[in-house]
């Protein structure tokens, strides 16, 4: 079941992907993004397990257990796709060929620090490929709910949880706003979802300036 908030975030984050980008999509909201890319979009989707060129979800009856997305759902490959081992897979990431990674967040702060892999003593699933994606993708987009389940801000002055990578986030997309992380702090470039800028300020744990961008 995909909820309306996740769909809203994925739809807005999809507009941050440039035509022709090589993109990695994290589990959860980021994996919803392909459904919102414009028809004919030429982006090349990378998956850590070892392929470039992920296509549509596999049709019922045509699933291939060797071909799934990061969340284990059966997918297809597009013409021009390639398969490779885990070393090559991360050469794409560390070698500078990954244009964009879309990741979730537990916390993200005004310097672009990202925490999304560990809550000490409570949640410790390991890091997977997350550190390399956050640290080495040319552009990192965080796609996250604006606040946690308890209503507390996820966008902070400074992350408190152990970091995935420092100073790595370029853009934050939530169900209410888009922020760019710049050397002088956060800039809100879009606001939607029926909230005022003051309401967004109340839900955000860091100051931000306004720099609204024209809709593309």
């Amino acid at each position: 079941m995909t909820d309306a908030v996740s769909i809203c975030i994925a739809e807005r984050a999809a507009r941050e992907i440039a035509d022709g980008d090589v993109v990695n999509l994290g589990i959860g909201i980021p994996l919803l993004i392909p459904g919102f890319l414009p028809a004919g979009a030429r982006c090349v989707i990378h998956q850590e397990a070892g392929y470039l060129g992920m296509g549509e979800p596999a049709r019922p009856g045509e699933e291939d257990p060797t071909l799934t997305d990061a969340a284990g759902q059966p997918v297809t490959l597009l013409p021009g796709a390639s398969c490779f081992d885990s070393s090559v897979s991360f050469c794409v990431v560390r070698g500078g060929r990954l244009d964009c990674a879309v990741l979730g967040a537990l916390e993200v702060d005004k310097e672009g620090n990202l925490a999304n892999w560990l809550v000490p003593g409570k949640w410790s699933p390991g890091v997977g490929g997350g550190m390399e994606l956050a640290q080495k993708a040319r552009r990192v987009i965080v796609a996250t709910r604006h606040t946690g389940k308890d209503g507390a801000p996820k966008i902070l002055e400074r992350c408190r949880l152990p970091l995935t990578a420092p100073r790595c986030v370029d853009t934050i997309v939530t169900e209410y706003a888009v922020f760019r992380v710049r050397p002088d702090g956060l800039h809100m470039v879009d606001c939607y979802g029926g909230v005022t800028i003051e309401q967004v300020r109340a839900m955000t744990g860091a100051p931000f300036s306004l720099a609204l961008e024209k809709a593309a």
Partner: protein, 228 residues
């Protein structure tokens, strides 16, 4: 032209499961291929489970899920240490780890791949800056090279590697399919003994030379992947 040399086609590494796994013993370090269940050597790991060996160090991309794959070995208290990048789908392992009943080493996925590749390549390790400003760098040796600071990530080698391939020939040449390749070709180079199970086993040559992903020289024994 005469066929004076028979070459790889004269070498047959097909084996019974029992013979292939005869080296199992307590305390060994085992590389296990697969990304979750994709390219996971189910039949070989099942043989490890049935053997009763314990105090194992397992190295795998992830820890499977509760009740699946290496999950059986972990839940049975047979694993002393797990080296992996992601363990989030194995709640039993997390519970054992939090209770101090198993040692877990978390390694970023691509760096785990490179450490294993280095082990297979006869190197001592790799220099990497991944996670250098995070808690995963705690306790790791640092070195400056070409003006940049790196962590020393030690090579990984094991006593045994358990591999899953889509196709093998009798010499042990292997090929894989889609995302079931993952760590298998890297692990196939990084252990003293390498046992591969394959969905399809053909007489040598089982594939065109350019289609071979893992050359048979790295493989010691071939068994069918079919669970009997």
């Amino acid at each position: 032209m005469s066929q004076r040399l028979q070459g790889p086609a004269g070498i047959d590494k097909r084996s019974s499961l029992d013979d292939a796994m005869a080296s199992l013993r307590d305390g060994m370090t085992i590389l296990v291929g697969g990304f979750g269940e994709r390219g996971f050597p189910f039949r070989l790991v099942d043989a490890v489970a049935k053997s009763g060996i314990r105090d194992l160090t397992l190295i795998k991309s992830d820890a499977n899920e509760d009740g699946i794959g290496v999950g059986h070995l972990i839940a049975g208290g047979r694993v002393k240490k797990m080296v992996a990048s992601h363990i989030g789908l194995n709640r039993k392992l997390i519970e054992l780890m939090q209770g101090g009943n198993i040692e877990v080493e978390i390694c970023p996925q691509g760096i785990l791949a490179e450490r294993i590749r280095a082990g297979g390549a006869g190197l001592g390790g790799v220099l990497s800056d991944v996670g250098i400003e995070t808690i995963l760098a705690d306790g790791k040796q640092r070195v400056v090279s070409q003006g940049r600071e790196f962590l020393i990530e030690p090579a990984i080698r094991a006593d045994l590697a358990l591999i899953h391939a889509q196709r093998a020939d009798h010499f042990g040449n292997l090929s894989y399919v889609h995302a079931a390749r993952n760590f298998n070709p890297l692990m196939a180079m990084a252990a003293d003994r390498v046992v591969a199970e394959a969905d399809e086993i053909r007489a040598t040559p089982g594939m065109a030379p350019d289609a071979v992903v893992t050359p048979g020289v790295f493989v010691d024994a071939i068994v069918s992947a079919r669970l009997q």
